[in-house]
Amino acid sequence: MANRMSKAGASLGITALAILLVSLGVSFSDAKAPGKTPSAEQILDKFVEATGGVAAYDKLQSSISKGALEIPAAGITVDLTVYSARPNKMCTIAESPAIGKNERGTDGTIFWEKSTMQGARVLEGEELAEALREAAFEGLVYWRGQYDSVAVAGTDTVAGNPCYKVVMKAKGGKPRTLSFDQKSGLLVRTQTTVPTQMGEIPIESFPGDYRKVGDVLQAYKSTVKVMGQERIMTMTSVEYNAAIPDSVFAVPADVQALLQKK
């Protein structure tokens, strides 16, 4: 929820772009790094507070984020719209004249993709599990309910600023390493591997340009590195608690046709 834009990237199935903040399992490690390094729990709680605090997030039921995904190496810019609602409904639409329309969504149970180029499909197995975690509205803010384990993995530097690294793992999920700015507490880098239909894809993303939207801070920009290439996601608007018709999250007819064929 704190970074709706991260879910937009995943709408392009070919890259399974940055899943910056997802929601996963339970329990966590209270492990501390040596010296004055805070615990993983403290680092994550500081992030939650820095972006608005749990009370602010509790008021949010849905979001509509709009922006663009730029792929400089291809000279292409794609318009993005991300609809999201509690508990785990999501629909992302990525569209451009160059590549057509790519949609990806879930009603909370079935997760599907549909694109102008490659048609429709229904996600299964590990990819489905990861995608459903990705769709959870309660993202990193409610990390205690999402991850099996969290642990400090030392310190790091991102863009010249010292950071704490935290490794988080959900049951059945891939570990992801998150770097939080030591001073601001904000998330500034994520590193993870995303299961996709094409294979596992390592992704590194750098969220930034945090702006206040209502009572919460929202990253408006994220630079994503995928397979040696760079994508830049920039949001132009984020609207919380907007009315989203159920039809937005409904399984499309051509996906229904695939399900009936099974």
Binding site: A74, G75, I76, A98, Q118, Q197, I201, M227
Partner: protein
């Protein structure tokens, strides 16, 4: 020579443009331009160092390449010389899909179509058959079409330059390369190219073996103009037809503009659902977006979790997985290819080759299958680079080999003059020999 002639696949279309813009590129450089050229040199070298899918660079000492060529770039006196250094660097890799796209090409992309721009076309498609340049098709409603130019006519000379003497050296140089057909045709096409509104005088031998001279004014290329990122423009045409015995036929000119192409292909396949067979024609198709190849295959490959090949970057291996459509065509499918089918067209044909219901017919393809991207350099030029290798579903690395058809069939002058297409005839015969029950 092959290493120098690296502009294949997606970049092939710009060759004609490169030829006539060299004069402007000879102007002396300012200190700022020299600096931008050096920055471009470093960007090209670094991109390959960091992203080339083969960390051994094919056995090259990449640092040594830098150290050898950097002084040449520092000494480059004009844009053409600077571009030659960049081209020499990428040519050392000896792979397709590495090219330097002159900045002037981009100016042409942005400018309105008018005299002086590049991108003009006669609408005449050519293959070199038996040492002769033969017209294989003429785009309908073009000036050449209205002037009566016919398939099967031989092109003897263009603007007074005899063509037959050009071919032996190309034949010899590429005698063992799948790129031979491509370069032979390019030798003719480049001479017929120019700006929209330019004229080109062509001497033909017509169907009765009489000499005919036609002066043709170049026009905007046929089809929908497609601008895809930093690439030069492509032109999309599609053709849906029903041939004898009710066999479906679909042809298209490039793997771009999915918004237009995919619905057209989908509608065609829906209309062919009860046909005894389908022919998909990618002859002359230079490729484009690889994802389209997967999308097309989903219309006639029913099995789940099947891929049409594997892409390998330095760090990843990704499968080009097909998503079967809800309504899949279950009859025989013939895919027509030739020596001008490149890149995604090869991934498409080579990827589905071997399925029991699918047969590849025609002549070997270009053998240029590396996934690539194109970026702008500090000096304004474009830089196309491959970031991955590709292996077909059958485990064949098509780069440098091409797709070898199941049935090798080439056009002949006589057949073209008679209005026949031997590849289509072979496809029809094969489909007729199949006994699939199409539902």
């Amino acid at each position: 020579m092959e290493k120098r002639l690296h502009l294949v696949g997606a970049a092939a279309i710009i060759i004609a443009m490169l030829i006539s813009i060299s004069r402007a590129a000879c102007a002396q450089l300012t200190p700022e331009e020299k600096s931008l050229n050096l920055d471009s040199f470093e960007q090209v070298w670094t991109t390959i160092r960091d992203q080339h899918f083969d960390p051994t660079f094919g056995g090259l000492d990449w640092q040594a390449v830098h150290d050898e060529l950097r002084p040449k770039m520092e000494g480059a006196g004009n844009a053409q010389e600077a571009r030659a250094v960049l081209t020499e660097m990428i040519s050392r890799l000896g792979l397709s899909h590495f090219s330097i796209i002159p900045a002037d090409v981009y100016k042409n992309i942005d400018a309105p179509a008018k005299r002086g721009d590049r991108g003009g076309s006669t609408g005449i498609a050519v293959r070199v058959i038996g040492g002769a340049a033969i017209v294989t098709s003429v785009a309908p409603e073009t000036r050449a079409y209205r002037a009566g130019v016919k398939p099967g006519w031989e092109i003897r000379a263009i603007d007074g330059e005899e063509l037959p003497p050009l071919f032996p050296s190309i034949e010899e140089e590429f005698k063992n390369s799948p790129k031979k057909e491509y370069y032979l045709a390019s030798a003719v096409r480049s001479r017929m190219g120019g700006a929209i509104g330019d004229t080109v005088t062509i001497q033909f031998i017509d169907g009765t073996n009489d000499p005919v001279e036609k002066t043709v004014t170049l026009e905007e290329k046929t089809g929908k103009k497609i601008i895809f990122g930093n690439f030069p423009p492509f032109y999309l045409t599609t053709k849906t037809d029903t041939l004898e015995h009710g066999i479906g036929y679909f042809a298209f000119s490039c793997f771009f503009d999915p918004i237009t192409l995919m619905p057209a292909f989908g509608a065609a396949m829906q209309s062919f659902m009860n046909a005894p067979g389908v022919i998909i024609d990618v002859r002359g198709n230079p490729g484009g977006i690889a994802g389209i190849a997967m999308g097309l295959a989903g219309w006639f490959v029913e099995e789940k979790n099947i891929d049409i090949g594997t892409m390998r970057t330095r760090t990843n291996t990704l499968r080009f997985v097909i998503n079967p459509r809800a309504n899949v065509y279950r009859g025989p499918v013939a895919i027509l290819v030739d020596g001008l089918s490149g890149s995604s067209a090869e991934i498409f044909a080579g990827g589905v080759q071997g399925f029991p219901r699918i047969r590849i017919i025609g002549s070997p393809t270009i053998g240029a299958t590396l996934p690539s991207a194109a970026v702008r350099l500090p000096n304004g030029d474009g830089f196309q680079y491959a970031f991955a290798s590709y292996t077909s579903r059958n485990g064949v690395e098509l780069e440098g080999k091409g797709v070898i058809p199941d049935a090798e069939v080439r056009p002949t002058r006589q057949a073209l003059l008679e209005g026949r297409d031997p590849a289509i005839e072979t496809a029809i015969d094969w489909i007729q020999s199949q006994r699939y029950i199409v539902k």
